[in-house]
C-alpha cells in the first residue's frame, strides 16, 4: 500500500497553491476516505537472478483495501492479490483456490518484486503513524523542492528511522527515501515520467531501488488510471476474489 498512498497523496494535492503540511497530509487522508481508483499498471523487476515484466489491473478503495489482478505473462494471468487491513490473500486460478498469506510468510517477495507482502499492507496510515515537518522548501536558498521529513510516531509499528519525501515546485512528487535509525539510506522510491492521466498531470512511474544491491530495482508504470470509480465494498472480500 505504501506505493499507492504515496502516489495518491500527491495526486490529490496537485493544483493546490503553496500547500501547508496539514493540507498535504489532509489531502492524502481525504483521498483515502471514500475515494477509489482503477488502474492498469506494468511492473518491471530486475534482480541479479532474473528480469521480468508483468501487466496488472488494480482497484483500490480507501487506504485499507486494494485488489491487483495479473494480466500477463500468461503463466501468471489471473492471479489476484487482495490486501485488506494487514491481511493478504492470493487467488490462484490454476488451482482455483484462495490462500491467505500466514504471518511467518509476510516477509516473502510479492510476485518476485522488491516489495514484500508486508510492504503491500504497511504504511497506509501516514498521518497516524508519522510526524511530519518541512526540512526544505523551494526558494529557501538551498532547496528547489519541498522536502518533508516523516518520523514514525514512537509506538508506530514501523521499522524505518525516517522517510524523506521530496516534492517538486510543480507540486509533483520526486522521490521518497527510506532511512534506518542510524540515518543510513536503505531504499529509494523515485517518481518520474510525468504525463497527463485521469485528467491531471502525474508521475506515471515509481521505481523502488534497494541500496547496495547492484542495479536491482522494481519499476511500476501506470498505463492508465481512473479515479473515483464506482466500487462496492464486496469487491474487496476473499469471497469475491474468484470473480
Amino acid at each position: 500500500m505504501i506505493l499507492w498512498c504515496t502516489a495518491a497523496m500527491f495526486v490529490a494535492s496537485v493544483g493546490a497553491q503553496e500547500p501547508t503540511m496539514a493540507q498535504l497530509l489532509d489531502a492524502a487522508d481525504d483521498y483515502a476516505r471514500g475515494d477509489s481508483s482503477h488502474a492498469t499498471i506494468e511492473m518491471a523487476v530486475k534482480t541479479k537472478r532474473y528480469e521480468r515484466t508483468m501487466r496488472m489491473e488494480s482497484w483500490s478503495k480507501g487506504t485499507d483495501a486494494s485488489l491487483i489482478r495479473i494480466l500477463s505473462p500468461a503463466k501468471d494471468a489471473g492471479i489476484t492479490t487482495l490486501m485488506r487491513d494487514e491481511n493478504v490473500w492470493n487467488y490462484l486460478p490454476k488451482v482455483d483456490r484462495i490462500l491467505k498469506v500466514p504471518g511467518a510468510m509476510m516477509g516473502g517477495r510479492w510476485q518476485g518484486s522488491h516489495f514484500t507482502n508486508d510492504d503491500l499492507v504497511k504504511g497506509n496510515r501516514l498521518s497516524e503513524d508519522f510526524d511530519a515537518r518541512f526540512t526544505g522548501k523551494p526558494g529557501d536558498g538551498t532547496h528547489d523542492a519541498y522536502i518533508i521529513e516523516l518520523t514514525p510516531k514512537p509506538d508506530a509499528a514501523i521499522v524505518w528511522g525516517k522517510l524523506l519525501v521530496t516534492v517538486g515546485p510543480d507540486m509533483l512528487p520526486m522521490d521518497t527515501k527510506y532511512f534506518d535509525e542510524d540515518g543510513t539510506l536503505v531504499r529509494t522510491m523515485a517518481f518520474g515520467d510525468v504525463k497527463p492521466m485521469a485528467g491531471k498531470s502525474i508521475p506515471t512511474t515509481m521505481t523502488l531501488t534497494p541500496e547496495g544491491k547492484n542495479g536491482e530495482f522494481t519499476r511500476i508504470t501506470f498505463v492508465s488510471l481512473e479515479l473515483d470509480v464506482e466500487l462496492s465494498d464486496s469487491t474487496f472480500t476473499p469471497q469475491a476474489l474468484k470473480r
Binding site: 537472478r49 501468471d76 510468510m105 518476485g112 518484486s113
Partner: protein, 406 residues
C-alpha cells in the same frame, strides 16, 4: 619344564584357581558385554544419523551451505547422478531440491519447508516409507503427490486423499502453484519435518521452482565409510561433483559429529571405570595368591631357586591363570555378545527421539574384534602387573623370613 611346573602349581590349588579364574572370567565377560552394547549403540546412532539425515558425503552448490538460498543449485543433475552412480566408491545416493512453500488446505494455510525427492532413491536411502504413519509414500513417477508431516497436516486440516495447494516463490520470480494429492503422513522425529515439512517428487518441485534438472543436495553413501577423507577427494574428482562443494557428514553437521564424539568419550570413560574395577579385582586376586604362598616361595628359595627364578615362575603362573580366565571369559563374553547381537537389549518401550532422528527402543550389540583384543591384552597386563609386585617382593625376601611368614 618351567611351564609344566607353573601349570602344575596352579592346579595344586584347584579351589583357589577356580575361584580366581571365575572372577576374572566374569570381569572379562562383563567388559565384553558392555563394550558390545556400547559399540552397537554408537554404530546405530551414527548409522541412523547418516541414513536418515546426513549421508556419508553431501554435494552442494558452493554457496548453498552458507546461504541456503534457493538459487544456489547444482545444474545438470541427471548427468551428475549418472556420473556418481558409475563411481565405484559410491554405494547409493539420494537427490533433494528444497524450498520454502505455502501449503494450503481447504480453509487454512501454513508456511512449510518442502523437499523434492526421487521417491525410489530416497526410500532406498532413508527407508522413509517406514516413517509413513498414515497412507503411503510417494509413487515412483511424478503424479502430483505429496506426503506431509503429521503436525503440519493437522494444522491445515489436510487428510490423506484430499488435495492441497502448494505455492512457491519460483527462481524466475514467478509464483509457482499447483494442486497436490496428499497420499501419506510422515512422522520422522525431525520436528522441522513433522511440524512444517513434506516430500514431493523432485520433478514436481523443479516445475514449481522453475529449476529444471537442478537439485540443492546430492547425498551419498559410500562403500568404505572408514576412509571418508580419501573417498571424499575421489568423489571431488568425479564429474558429478564438478564445480560443487563436497563435504563429509561431519562437515555438514559438526554438532552431530561432536555429539557422537562426546558419546564415545563418555563410553570410553565408562569402559575405563569397568577396566579399573576389573583390574582391581585381578590385582587383588593375584596379590592374594602370591602372598598366601610366601611361605612356599621361601621354601623354593631355600632349595636353591634364584630370585629371578621365583619371579619367572610367578609370572608364568600368572600367564597360565590369565590364559585359563581369558578362555573362560571369552566363552562367557561370547555368549553374552551373541545374545546382544541376536536379541538386542530393550532399553525403552517404544522409540527414542533424539537430535531429529528416531531410534528403536531396542538396540543390538556389535562385536568389534579390536575391542576384544584390548580387553584381553588389558587382562594380561593387569594380572602380570598385579603378580609382579608381590612376586618381586617375594623374590627379594630372605628365605628364612619368607618361610616364617604365615
Amino acid at each position: 619344564m618351567w611351564w609344566t611346573f607353573a601349570w602344575r602349581n596352579l592346579w595344586r590349588q584347584r579351589r583357589r584357581t577356580i575361584v580366581t579364574c571365575t572372577a576374572m572370567a566374569i570381569g572379562i565377560a562383563m567388559t565384553m558385554g558392555i563394550v558390545c552394547f556400547q559399540d552397537g549403540f554408537n554404530q546405530e546412532m551414527e548409522r541412523v544419523m547418516v541414513d536418515q539425515r546426513l549421508g556419508h558425503i553431501q554435494i552442494n552448490h558452493s554457496d548453498y551451505p552458507g546461504r541456503r538460498s534457493m538459487h544456489d543449485v547444482l545444474g545438470g543433475v541427471e548427468a551428475r547422478i549418472a556420473a556418481l552412480e558409475s563411481d565405484g566408491s559410491v554405494a547409493d545416493l539420494t537427490v533433494r531440491l528444497n524450498g520454502p512453500a505455502l501449503v494450503g488446505g481447504e480453509t487454512k494455510s501454513e508456511g512449510a519447508f518442502l523437499v523434492g525427492v526421487d521417491p525410489d532413491r530416497e526410500n532406498a536411502f532413508t527407508d522413509v516409507s517406514s516413517m509413513v504413519v498414515e497412507g503411503r509414500y510417494l509413487a515412483s513417477d511424478r503424479a502430483n503427490e505429496v506426503v506431509l508431516g503429521v503436525q503440519l497436516a493437522a494444522k491445515i486440516e489436510a487428510k490423506v486423499g484430499t488435495e492441497v495447494v502448494v505455492v512457491t516463490q519460483a527462481a524466475d520470480g514467478s509464483m509457482g502453484n499447483e494442486l497436490f494429492l496428499v497420499v501419506g503422513m510422515l512422522s520422522t522425529g525431525d520436528a522441522r519435518l513433522d511440524r512444517g515439512g513434506g516430500h514431493l517428487h523432485i520433478k514436481d518441485m523443479q516445475t514449481l521452482l522453475v529449476l529444471d534438472d537442478s537439485a540443492h543436495e546430492l547425498t551419498l553413501r559410500v562403500h568404505d565409510e572408514n576412509m571418508l577423507a580419501s573417498v571424499k577427494s575421489l568423489i571431488s574428482a568425479n564429474p558429478g561433483a564438478a564445480g560443487a562443494t563436497v563435504r563429509t557428514w561431519a562437515e555438514v553437521d559438526p554438532q552431530v559429529e561432536k555429539m557422537l564424539a562426546m558419546n564415545q568419550s563418555m563410553n570410553f570413560f565408562i569402559m575405563m571405570i569397568v577396566l579399573v574395577v576389573a583390574g582391581i579385582v585381578v590385582l587383588n586376586t593375584m596379590m592374594m595368591v602370591v602372598y598366601e604362598r610366601t611361605h612356599e616361595l621361601g621354601v623354593l628359595q631355600a632349595l636353591g631357586m634364584r630370585p629371578g627364578g621365583v619371579l619367572k615362575l610367578i609370572a608364568m603362573e600368572a600367564m597360565c591363570l590369565t590364559t585359563v580366565s581369558v578362555a573362560l571369559g571369552l566363552i562367557l563374553g561370547g555368549l553374552l555378545d551373541w545374545y546382544f547381537v541376536s536379541y538386542g537389549v530393550k532399553f525403552l518401550d517404544g522409540d527414542l527421539t533424539f537430535a531429529g532422528v528416531r531410534f528403536s527402543g531396542r538396540m543390538y550389540g556389535v562385536v568389534e574384534a579390536n575391542m576384544i583384543v584390548i580387553t584381553v591384552v588389558s587382562a594380561y597386563v593387569i594380572s602380570i602387573l598385579a603378580a609382579g609386585w608381590p612376586a618381586w617382593r617375594a623374590s627379594r625376601m630372605n628365605p628364612v623370613e619368607a618361610m616364617r611368614e604365615n
